[in-house]
């Protein structure tokens, strides 16, 4: 939450006045929103889980380091798990009615078309779940296209015997896939955040012009505060991903554990924006 609330004012002003911001700032703002929405939503989910556990209710994990996903399908296994699981369980099989088989289609093509259609419908509905607006349709549609393309490419690779089933990808490949997935997801957040298709277009147009800085002061990306805050976040994420635990610090002995808590408390107070006046993004949904 400290990270999300710190990033919120930096992102808000750039999405509100994209024509007054430099091209590089617009790119940074998009990255920062990607991080903001994750921290905001995941942070509130973790608070809800913790409070529930105080009352003896064990809520399911809702986010599992989604930006370490190596594909869009993997991303959706890690992001908003409660919703994506619900869609997978109730909507995805529900759309698998019998389809008339075209004369020119082989069974395998029919299966692919059905699959792609189901994926697209599921993601479009998922977009509409967020609001009756074209930007959410675009957001869901993009994710649907990503997942469909991925499954088609994956099928083709298996068919061409390029991929070896069960083989672990190399570290470099996994890293590249992770970076690519993060960028694809980040691009879709542009529509999510812009508020309208016109707003998204204005942002993209300003980005395309790669304009010099306007009257809004450039982001201090190379300062101390933002990098330190983001590195702290990244360290926590890497630790959780590597240990496959959401509470790895609890396993440490008391001395490093105490030092870690002290660092986190001081970092939140010194680097964060603990004003408490930034609304939770998902309250609107």
């Amino acid at each position: 939450m400290a990270v999300a609330d710190t990033l919120a004012p930096l992102v808000d002003v750039r999405f509100q006045f994209p024509w007054l911001v430099s091209g590089s700032d617009l790119v940074w703002a998009l990255y920062l929103f990607s991080i903001q929405i994750y921290c905001d939503f995941s942070g509130y989910s973790d608070i809800a889980r913790g409070v529930s556990r105080l009352f003896g209710i064990d809520l399911a994990l809702n986010f599992r380091q989604p930006y370490f996903a190596t594909s869009i399908a993997d991303f959706w296994r890690r992001w908003h798990i409660s919703l994506s699981t619900w869609f997978r369980d109730y909507l995805f099989p529900g759309s698998s009615q019998r389809t008339k088989r075209s004369r020119w289609m082989r069974p395998v093509n029919v299966r692919r078309v059905r699959h792609v259609r189901r994926v697209l419908v599921t993601f479009l509905v998922s977009g509409l779940w967020h609001g009756a607006s074209w930007v959410f349709v675009a957001w869901g549609g993009l994710h649907g296209i990503y997942v469909s393309l991925q499954s088609l490419v994956s099928d083709a690779r298996v068919g061409a015997r390029i991929a070896t089933v069960g083989a672990e990808p190399s570290r470099l490949k996994a890293l590249l896939a992770m970076v690519a997935t993060f960028h694809l997801v980040t691009f879709t957040w542009l529509f999510f955040r812009a508020g309208s298709l016109v707003g998204a277009w204005n942002y993209l147009a300003a980005l395309g012009r790669w304009q010099p800085a306007g009257s809004i002061a450039p982001l201090n990306i190379l300062g101390v505060r933002l990098p330190l805050l983001l590195m702290t976040l990244a360290a926590g994420e890497i630790l959780q991903e590597r240990t496959r635990s959401q509470t790895p610090i609890l396993e440490w002995s008391w001395l490093p554990q105490g030092l870690a808590y002290a660092y986190l408390a001081v970092a939140i107070l010194v680097l964060g924006n603990p004003s408490g006046d930034v609304p939770f993004i998902y309250f609107q949904f």
Binding site: V13, F17, W252, W254, G258, Y261, V266, L269, P274
Partner: protein, 334 residues
């Protein structure tokens, strides 16, 4: 030496061991955070209000005025308002038109538009206006119209910690010194001692714009603005800044003079906003406000304007001298 099996950690349930370890860790963390907080209190205490401002120069300008008022040395003539006051009015040139010994100070700040002024500057004047004889308010009339631009420009002031504190919207940094560190970083040489805090602003707060003798800015197409002429209206909430200031003047014994700042634009939208502004200032429903009109004056050439509403330094000084004369005549006539 052997340990009994009941006191060895191996014999305790894992949950108990984890809880004890967690409590020790929390105690250590709490002790470290408290120590850090105490150190910050020691270091940042001498900074007073300086760390709360949105800008270092603003901190110097406003805090110097506060200090002068506290010492009973408030200026006789005070300029307040937005950039049309900050950049266009030279206190020394205004004061030069009065008898020796009359001093003037410019407390205006760019984008201190009516909402920001009412929220942040007006409370300061309530606290520190003893000794002030005349307050000159210079606002761009466009600042009285609700617009996203006005909101954006004002937000730096409205969201500043000094403004939040004045309005009772206190946040963590007002209570916890650790949360002040990043705001106080620009003053790090003054930590512990308070020495080296920004001194009085140059030129008594006048913030002249460099440059001049350029080609006048091209006139904008009026077609887009003409469509808005019929629908534009001033915000009552924003106008209250002027009327609240007039009311404060009555309470504290200073005279309020509102200046219509120089402008070179013939934009019909601007003209309509000016007309409404003048009309509201002279409205009998509101407390009487003295207005001096300097729109499109003869003594300024098009090249004196930077952008149609802001003056370069030479033009600003000439305008300030005329303003001083007008003020002197106005004050001596009543």
């Amino acid at each position: 030496m052997s340990h009994s099996s009941t006191s060895s950690s191996e014999a305790l349930p894992a949950k108990v061991v984890g809880a004890a370890r967690f409590l020790k860790a929390v105690a250590l963390a709490a002790a470290l955070v408290v120590c850090a907080e105490l150190l910050c209190r020691l270091a940042l205490g001498p900074l007073g209000h300086y760390w709360q401002y949105w800008d270092l120069a603003a901190a110097a300008k406003f805090e110097h005025f506060r200090e002068r008022a506290r010492q009973g040395r408030a200026p006789a003539l005070l300029v307040v308002g937005d950039s049309t006051g900050a950049s266009d009015i030279d206190p020394a040139s205004v004061a030069s038109q009065f008898e020796p010994g009359v001093d003037a100070y410019n407390l205006a700040w760019p984008a201190d538009f009516p909402l920001a002024f009412r929220a942040c500057t007006l409370p300061l004047l309530r606290e520190a206006s003893r000794g002030i004889r005349v307050v000159v308010a210079s606002f761009s009339p466009r600042g009285f119209v609700e617009s996203p631009e006005a909101d954006r420009f004002e937000s730096a002031i409205l969201n500043s910690l000094i403004c939040r504190e004045v309005q009772g919207r206190r946040e963590a940094a007002h209570y916890v010194y650790l949360a002040r560190v990043r705001y106080a970083l620009p003053f790090r040489r003054s930590w512990f001692t308070g020495g080296g805090l920004p001194g009085p602003p140059d030129r008594a707060g006048f913030m002249p714009l460099d440059g001049g003798n350029q080609e006048p800015p091209p006139a904008r197409s009026a077609s887009a603005t003409e469509a808005r002429v019929g629908i534009v209206s001033l915000s009552e909430e924003r106008l209250r800044a002027i009327f609240d200031l007039a009311e404060l003047g009555r309470q504290k014994g200073f005279r309020l003079v509102v200046v219509m700042p120089p402008i070179s634009s013939d934009d019909p939208l601007v003209a309509e906003i000016e007309r409404q502004y003048m009309s509201r200032l002279s409205s009998s429903r509101n407390p009487a406000v003295d207005v001096i009109d300097f729109r499109r004056p003869d003594f300024l050439a098009p090249t004196d304007y930077k952008d149609g509403i802001h003056l370069f330094a030479d033009g600003a000084r000439r305008y300030s001298e005329h303003l001083g004369q007008a003020l002197r005549e106005r004050l001596s006539s009543r």
